[in-house]
């Protein structure tokens, strides 16, 4: 307890020291699957950007002379019944898949965050309204709602993105409302208020840093979820309208003739499955590294 006053250190010395990053990367790295997943996801994003340029053919280019070809050097993934080059179609699909998944997740998150924050901070009637809406969304088969929205607004990129986005916000709202409520009522915020912090400062310095990681993890889990919904719509014939390329369409069509032309199923389904798993591995890795105690 000896309150010895130490020789004052040069002020610059202490403040220049780098802020420790909690070693989240070193924790993430321990999960090998997550590292693999991250590699695949990065590749997926790169293809999403440059796919259309590196594809040997246009996705809509039909060549009936080369229909139903098995994999060969010229058509590494084979061709389908109208002569579409499967490799090209897959390369083009990545872009659509990413646009819809990211867009839909973003819409869900915006709606969920806005409603969740409102419910958590206001409480009372606002909380009741939002949480009953969330209960409704959980109880209602959202897939069915997606189908209704897509039939109403068409099967283009934007309507599908909007449909998936607007039906998927309930989880985010519940998560964010819970986090806000827990923090708002907690001693930390009370202590900050007791020290005279303004509400704005509490939001920026206390609430946001403490929910940031949980939100990132929730978003990482949201993307593969939305990819699955998107493919699911294609399977019942309500996904992106062909010839717009999408994994769901390719898989759904290949399913009609698995025995005759199995490569039509193997390549798109395999790549899509690995992609989904990779996104999940990344999300799990992030959860372990950033938010080990939080829930999804």
């Amino acid at each position: 307890m000896a309150a010895k006053t130490l020789a004052a250190p040069p002020a610059g010395l202490v403040r220049k020291t780098k802020r420790p990053r909690f070693g989240w990367w070193s924790r993430y790295r321990r999960n090998k699957l997550a590292v693999f997943g991250l590699g695949w996801v990065v590749l997926f994003f790169i293809i999403g950007v440059i796919g259309p340029w590196i594809a040997p053919h246009n996705y809509a280019y039909t060549n009936f002379l080369a229909a139903n070809q098995p994999p060969s050097w010229q058509y590494p993934f084979g061709t389908d019944s109208v002569g579409h080059d499967m490799l090209s179609e897959i390369l083009w699909s990545v872009q659509n898949a990413l646009e819809i998944a990211l867009g839909a997740t973003f819409i869900s998150f915006l709606v969920g965050a806005a409603l969740g924050l409102w419910a958590g901070l206001k409480g009372g009637i606002a909380d009741q309204i939002v949480m009953r809406l969330v209960d409704f969304m959980y109880a209602f088969p959202t897939y069915f709602l997606d189908l209704i929205l897509v039939t109403t607004f068409g099967r283009g990129l934007a309507p599908i993105m909007f449909a998936i986005g607007i039906t998927g916000w309930a989880g985010y709202a519940r998560l964010i409302r819970g986090l806000t409520l827990r923090l708002r009522e907690g001693e930390m915020v009370e202590a900050a208020r007791a020290l005279g912090s303004t509400q704005r400062h509490i939001m920026i310095a206390y609430l946001w840093p403490n929910v940031r990681n949980s939100m990132l993890v929730a978003l990482a889990f949201g993307i593969p979820g939305d990819l699955t919904v998107m493919a699911g719509l294609s399977v019942v014939g309500m996904g992106l309208r062909p010839p717009l390329p999408s994994f769901g369409n390719m898989i759904a069509q290949a399913g009609t003739n698995v025995l005759g032309f199995p490569w039509l199923l193997y390549f798109p389904a395999g790549i899509f499955a690995i992609t989904l798993l990779s996104f999940l591995f990344v999300a799990e890795g992030l959860q372990e590294a950033l938010d080990p105690k939080g829930g999804r």
């Binding site: 307890m1 000896a2 309150a3 010895k4 006053t5 130490l6 004052a8 250190p9 002020a11 010395l13 202490v14 403040r15 020291t17 802020r19 420790p20 409480g123 907690g186 001693e187 930390m188 009370e190 202590a191 900050a192 208020r193 007791a194 020290l195 005279g196 912090s197 303004t198 400062h201 310095a205 206390y206 840093p209 403490n210």
Partner: protein, 329 residues
């Protein structure tokens, strides 16, 4: 006596609950002189924390102040708006909370958290605040301040965190420090260190301290004057010496009876107070302690005892205070 630093008059606080209104604080008046240390003692639910949090505008959303004044620096704390209160909290009145494990922001370095208050209140420039933070860390007994400045709360033990909380509370040199059970969540050995630290700070800075505690031992070791609260009312208040020698309220005596005294194990018996402190769902018309009081008379069930002044600045709210005093004497 000089002008009081804080003068609370007839404070009333109510909580709105689904099953009705809870009368948490009922006509509480007290004052604190500059440099004085006052202990507010009582069971959980006696309204001791509520009364003081109400002064700072830190009540939960369902609580509200329904009457009274709290004069501090010429202003009535209960009449100030949010921004005026934010200015006073942390600058003129510091607060230390019970649980240092929950009170610190886990995403912020402790040095930054201490600096924060000074910067928010424009108490010091960035450079001054930094230098002062190092001094404060040394003052509250944290070794190697320059290194500890950069630590996060999870790297600190409970006692160390409470020291940080204290440093935050006194950073802007408040005239009044409200310590809400500052030692309850700590190990017994650490409790004593924290009390010693508060005692040192009080003497060096001539700061007034209100110590809220349910531990009579802590209060009697630390304070100049004791206020005993029950059912949202002040039961007894006296300077420490008088309080120790002539406790005159049956509730106070019951509190002493429920303390553990390992020294004289021979003739000491533990006498817990029967029953529990119930929340007051009606405005109290009689002595709130009467249902649990061993000396209760019919009169106690119907008539509210007022605080009466006895010798040596000893105030007691009990119909039978004289009998209690003569019996003890």
């Amino acid at each position: 006596m000089s002008d009081p630093l804080l003068k609370v008059e007839n404070l009333r606080v109510e909580f709105q609950r689904s099953d009705g209104i809870v009368y948490a604080v009922n006509d509480v008046s007290f004052s604190i002189a500059p440099g004085e240390t006052v202990g507010v003692v009582g069971e959980s639910g006696s309204g001791k924390s509520t009364a003081l949090m109400a002064l700072l505008g830190l009540l939960d959303a369902n609580g509200r102040v329904t009457g009274g004044h709290a004069w501090f620096q010429g202003a009535d704390l209960l009449k100030l708006n949010r921004h005026q209160l934010e200015d006073i909290r942390g600058r003129d009145i510091g607060v230390v909370f019970q649980d240092p494990m929950l009170g610190l922001n886990p995403t912020m370095r402790i040095g930054d958290q201490i600096m924060e208050g000074m910067l928010e209140h424009h108490y010091a420039s960035m450079k001054q605040a930094f230098q002062r933070t190092l001094d404060l860390l040394a003052e509250v007994g944290i070794p190697d301040p320059p290194a500890r400045f950069r630590n996060y709360p999870f790297e600190f033990s409970g006692g160390m965190r409470q020291r940080v909380m204290i440093a935050m509370a006194i950073a802007c040199e408040p005239q009044l420090l409200i310590a809400d059970e500052p030692t309850t969540a700590l190990d017994v050995t650490v409790q004593m260190q924290i009390l010693a630290l508060l005692d040192k700070l009080r003497r060096e800075r001539r700061m007034s301290i209100i110590m809220i505690t349910h531990d009579l031992g802590v209060a009697t070791n630390f304070c100049d004057r004791i206020i005993v609260m029950y059912g949202g009312k002040i039961m007894e208040t006296a300077p420490l010496d008088e309080f120790l020698h002539n406790p005159a309220h049956p509730y106070t005596i019951a509190l002493f009876g429920s303390m553990l005294e390992p020294d004289d194990s021979e003739d000491w018996e533990l006498h817990p107070i029967p029953g529990t402190a119930e929340p007051l769902l009606e405005f109290p018309q009689a002595c709130p302690f009467a249902p649990r009081c061993s000396m209760a008379q019919p009169r106690c069930q119907t008539e509210m005892p007022q605080l009466r002044l006895f010798e040596n600045e000893h105030w007691i709210a009990c119909h039978r205070a004289e009998e209690v005093m003569s019996r003890a004497g």
